[in-house]
Symmetry: D2
Subunit: 346 residues, 4 copies
C-alpha cells in the first residue's frame, strides 16, 4: 500500500486527487494538506467526501510529510514546491508536482513566463516530465515528476505523432484550446463567478499563456527542432473538459489512411488515448470523469492543412488522473490502477 | 459472473446501466437491446464506450434473452415490460424493470395514472418494489423487481423515517421536487432542446405527475395509513440530480436531536443514505455520479412544520444504480458491488 | 428629464439599473456611485456599456448627490441607505431604496431578521412599499420608496389575489422558490463560483431567509390577518429568473373559472402581470430581460389545495425594473416607460 | 409604417425577428408565416409573446404576401426562398433572405457546398450581400438582400480591416469559431438536446462547413485576391453568442497603434462595431441581446502572427438584428432604429 500525502488538497486538482485515490486499491491518503483549511474536516470543505474521508486538513509541512509517506503530490500554486523541496526530502520520498515548477528545463524560460524566481533549479535536470505515454520509462525511475499542465497534455498528445514523424510544418502549428472553468481553480474571483462565466465565452492570455513554452519544449523534442507556436486558451461555460483544435500545414500529400496509421503507431497500445473513427470529432463530454484523451484529425486538401483535435477531462488526465498514472508507474503498480473509469454521460 | 441482458440500452438510464455494469466485477453484459439502433455499434450511439464496448445493438427479444442471461433489465417506456413478460420467461430469468409497470399494486391506479391497459396484471402481486433500503429482504428472494422511479426514490427516502415513526401529519405532506433534464429521456423533443431548457426553470405535471401514486403508496405503507399528497416536479437546467424539498406539520414538539435520532435509526447503517450534519443542506452536486442519497431536515418552530430535503443522482440511485443494487441483492453479491463510486465534484 | 443618481451601480442590480435607464427616454444618469471602483471607468467594470457610458465611478456621497439629482437609487447592502438618509436629503430628492431597510414596518422585525440596528427608524412610517401593482397610488406621492425584494415580489404577486379574496387558508401557505444566481450578487465568494453552482441545486436559508417577514407582512395586509408561512429559497444554475411554487388549502370548493376570474380581477389591466392560459405553467425563460411576472394556478381536487406559480426576472421586475416603474410613478411619467421590453428567448 | 411579412417565424431567427420588430417604431408585422404551426396562435409557440402578439401562424404563401406587405423576411431552410421568388414578387415587395440562397455569387459554389440545385439563379446577380457596414450603399437600393450567415458576419467583420488594408497574408488565415446552440435551430434532434450539449464542447463540420465559401468570397473582395482559408465551427453550451478567433501572419512589422488605427479607420463611425481597448478580449456575454460586434486583436511578435477576435450575438447581429438593420437601410429609416438595445448582463 502506497502511503500518500497531498499538499494543496482543497483546490480542484487536489480534490480530484482525493476522489481518485479514495478508490485506488493500492494507495492510502495519509495527509490532506491545505493551508487555508487547517484543522477543518476535509469533508466539510468537499461535502462529496462525507462519510468517506474522516480526516482534518493539515499544513504544508513537507519535511514532516517526507517521514510519513511514500509519495507527495503537490497541487499548489507555482513556486511552492520549488521552495519546499530539498535533497533530504527527495532522498526519503517521491514527489509528483502538479505545478509548473519542474516542467521546463530552461530555468530562464520558466522565470520569464511565470515571473517568479525558481528556488531550487538544481532539481530541474533530474525532474521527469510526466506525460506517461511519451516518457513512461523515465517516469518509472524518477524521484521527482513534473506533472504536465492540463492544456499541455491535451495539446501535446493531439499533435505528437505528426510532430514526431515529421509530417507537419511545425512553424505553422496553431493551437486553439477551450477549457471548462475548473481549470481556473477554486479561488474566489469575480471573473469566475457563475454569472460571469455562464452564457459566456472568451479568449484569455492571448499570446502570453504560460502553457505555451511547455508545449513548445515538448513538441520540440518530438519534432527534433525548436518550435514556436500560437496557443490561445478560451474559457467555456462548463465544469470540466478541454478541447484542443490544432492547425498545421502538411509537409507533403498524405492520405487519411497514412495519417491514421501514424496515430495508431503511437496510440494503438495506449489504453488512455483513443484515436476515434473517421470523421468522428472528439467531444469533451465523452471523456468526462475518465483518464481518456480522445483524438482525431481531418485533412483539408483545399488549404493543405491538417486539423487535429483532442478532448480530455482537465481534472483527470489533465491533472489528478495523470498524477495517479505517474504514481502507478513510479511504484511498479499496474499503470491503469485506480483509473479505469468509464466516462460519465450525460 | 452474472450474465446480464438490457432491453432499452440506449436511453439515458440504459446508458447508465451499461456504464455501471462495465465496471462491475461480478457482471457481464451479454445483450445490448435497442429497437432504435439494431445492428449499430453500441459505442457509436454512446461514444464514451468507444474501445470499451464492442457489441452491436440487438432487438427486444425477451424470449431469446431469457435463454442467454441470468437477469434482464428493462429500461423501456411504460407498458413494454408488462407486454413481454410471461411465466416461462420468469421461470428462467430474473427481471428488474426500470419502468413503472410493476410498481403499483392496484392495477386500476396504474391504469388511471398511466392511461394504458396493463398487459400482465397477474405478476403484479409477486413483484417486489425495489427500494433496497426498505425492502431489502424481499428483494433478495424476488424473481421480478419493480425498480422505483427517480423522483419517488428521493421523495420516499427523504420522508420515510418520519412517516414510519408517525412524527408528521401525513395529510399535510407536500413534496416540491426538482430534477435535472436527463430524467426527461433522450427522445428528440423541442421542449428538451438545450436552448429551451438552459437558463430556464418550470414546474410541470402539476397535480398530475405519475410518480404521485407511487410515492403515496409507499409512504402509506410506512405510515400505516392512506396517504394523499401534493407532488410537484420541476425541470432544472442541469444534466443530473434530483432535489426534493418536503414540507409537513409536526404532530408534536420535537427537538433537532430527536429527529436526528430517528433518521439515524433507519439510515446510520445504510451505506447509500447519508444523513448530513446539522444545517448542511443537501446539494445535488455532492452526490453526482454516485449511488448516495443525502438527506437532512430543518424544524421551523414558527410554523410547526419540518422541512425535509433529499438530493440524489437521478440516473444512479434514481435508476441504474439502484437497479444494480437490486441485482446485487438478488444474486447474493455484496450489495454495494460496482456502486462504490465517490461523487464527482465539480 | 429626470436626473438620476445610483449608489451601488456596480452590483448586478445596479448594473441592471444602468442598462434600463440608459434606454429610458425621460431619465438621465448623472452619478454612478460605487465605493469599490471609485475613479474607474464604469464601462471597464461592465464592458457591455462600452461606448454607451463614458462616466467614471463615484463615491457614495448622498449629501452631494441630493444637490445634483432628482432621484437616488440605492442598490446597496442592508443598512447603508438607512445610515445615509436624513430629512435634509429627503427634502431635496426622492429615494428608491433597493435594499431592505425600509420594507418592514416593524423595526424590531427588521432588526431581528437582519441582525443589524436600524439607523433611521423615523423614516420607516412614511416609506412606501413599492410593489406598484398593489400600492400604485401611494407610490405616486412618496418621497421614499422601499423597493421590494426579488423573491418577495414574485411570491406576493403570485398569491395576492387569492389572499385578498380570502379563498385560501393563509395558515397553510407554503412558498417554495427557486432563483437564478444573479440574486446572490457579484461578491467574490467560493459558493458562487461557476463550478460550485453549475450542475448543482440546493435549498438555503431554510426557515430563516430574510424575505420571509416581508412576504408575511404584505400578504398579511392583503388577507387582513397575521400570516406566518414557510418560505424556502433554492439556488438554480441559471443567471436570471425566479420561480415561485406556492401551496395552500382552499377554504371552499372553487372552479377553475372562479379562480381565474379572481386573478383577472386584479391583473387583467396590469401590463406587467400576465395570467397565463389554462394549464400553461410559467417558465422563467419566457420573461427573461423583461418586467413581466407570469402567473398561473392549478386546483388539486384530490388534496383540496391550490398550487400557484409565478415566474419573473429577478433583476428586472425583482429589482431594477420595478425600481424604474416606481420612478415613473413618482415623477408622473408613463408607468411602463423604459420597461416595454419583449422577453428574450432563447 | 413598413408592413412586414415573415416566412419562417417560428424558428429561432424568426422568433428573434418577431421580438425585435415588435419593438420597432416604424414597422408592423402583418404575417407570421410558419408551415409547422399554421392556425396555431403565435404566442402559444413562443410564450414570451403572450399578450404581445395575438396573431395566428400562416402558411408560406409568398405570392399572397407580396400583395400585403412592403418587405418579406425569409428565415427558412436553404432553397426555400430561391424556389418561391420570382420577378412579379420582386416587383411588388422587397425581400430580405436570411437563408444562404443569394449570398454566394457563383451558383456552382453554392450548389457544391449546399448540395442542392438553385431554383432561381437569375436573381443572384442583383442580390446584395447585406453586411451593412461593408455594403451600406448597395443595400439601400436593393430589392433583394442576402442576409449574411451568423458565423460569416462575425468572421468577416473581425478580419475585414486587415484584409482590406493588405496587412495580413490571406493564405495563412485560420478562423476558429465558437457558437451558442441557438445557431443549430429549433429542430428536434438528439444532438441538440440539453443533456447532449450541456457540459460538452466539440468541433463540427471541420473543413466542410457551408459558411466557408461565403467568408472566402467576401474577404476575397476585401483583399482583392482569391482567398482559401480554414474555418472550424464549434458548439458551445450556451444559448447565444459567437466568438471568432482568427490567426494570420503579418506581412510586415506593425505596431499596436498602427493596427488599431486601421480598425478605427473602418469602425470608428460604426455604431454596431466596437473596437475594444488594448488587451480587452471580446466576450460573447458583453454583447448578448444587442446588435453589437466587439472586436480586438493581439500581435504576437514571437510568431509574427496577429490574433483577431470578434464576439457577437448570433441571433441579433448574426441574423435578425442585421436583417432589421438592412430593412432600415432599404426603407430610408434610421439605420439603428429598433436596434438600440444595451447588451444584457448577466
Amino acid at each position: 500500500m502506497v502511503k500518500v500525502g497531498i499538499i494543496g488538497a482543497t483546490g480542484y486538482a487536489g480534490g480530484e486527487l482525493v476522489r481518485l485515490l479514495s478508490m485506488h486499491k493500492e494507495a492510502e491518503i495519509k495527509w490532506y494538506g491545505s493551508r487555508s483549511y487547517i484543522d477543518k474536516k476535509y469533508a466539510s470543505v468537499y461535502q462529496n467526501m462525507f462519510q468517506i474521508v474522516d480526516a482534518v486538513c493539515m499544513d504544508d509541512n513537507m519535511e514532516e510529510l517526507a517521514n510519513q509517506v511514500d509519495v507527495i503530490f503537490t497541487a499548489t500554486p507555482q513556486g511552492l514546491c520549488a521552495s519546499l523541496v530539498n535533497e533530504d526530502i527527495l532522498s526519503k520520498v517521491k514527489i509528483i508536482d502538479l505545478s509548473a515548477d519542474f516542467r521546463i528545463k530552461d530555468v530562464r524560460v520558466y522565470e520569464k513566463w511565470y515571473g517568479i524566481e525558481h528556488k531550487s533549479p538544481q532539481f530541474i535536470p533530474e525532474a521527469v516530465y510526466g506525460l506517461c505515454e511519451i516518457n513512461r520509462e523515465d517516469v518509472k525511475k524518477a524521484r521527482l515528476v513534473a506533472n504536465p499542465g492540463c492544456y499541455t497534455t491535451c495539446s501535446i498528445l493531439t499533435a505528437y505523432p505528426l510532430a514526431k514523424e515529421g509530417i507537419i510544418d511545425m512553424s505553422t502549428l496553431i493551437i486553439d484550446a477551450k477549457s471548462g472553468t475548473s481549470g481556473a481553480g477554486r479561488g474566489a474571483k469575480v471573473q469566475n463567478l457563475f454569472c460571469e462565466v455562464n452564457e459566456n465565452m472568451k479568449a484569455y492570455g492571448v499570446a502570453t499563456h504560460r502553457h505555451t513554452p511547455e508545449i513548445e519544449e515538448q513538441l520540440g523534442y518530438a519534432a527534433g527542432e525548436k518550435v514556436v507556436l500560437n496557443f490561445t486558451p478560451h474559457l467555456v461555460p462548463m465544469n470540466r473538459g478541454i478541447l484542443a483544435t490544432e492547425y498545421a500545414s502538411l509537409k507533403k500529400d498524405v492520405t487519411y489512411e497514412e495519417v491514421k496509421a501514424i496515430y495508431d503507431k503511437y496510440y494503438a497500445d495506449e489504453k488512455f488515448v483513443r484515436v476515434l473513427e473517421k470523421d468522428v470529432c472528439p467531444e469533451t463530454k465523452w471523456v468526462e470523469g475518465s483518464n481518456y484523451v480522445d483524438v482525431n484529425f481531418k485533412i483539408d486538401e483545399r488549404t493543405g492543412r491538417i486539423i487535429m483535435m483532442g478532448a480530455m477531462d482537465n481534472l483527470v488526465k489533465g491533472a489528478a488522473g495523470q498524477a495517479v498514472q505517474n504514481m502507478n508507474l513510479m511504484f511498479g503498480l499496474k499503470e491503469s490502477e485506480g483509473l479505469e473509469f468509464v466516462p460519465m454521460f450525460p
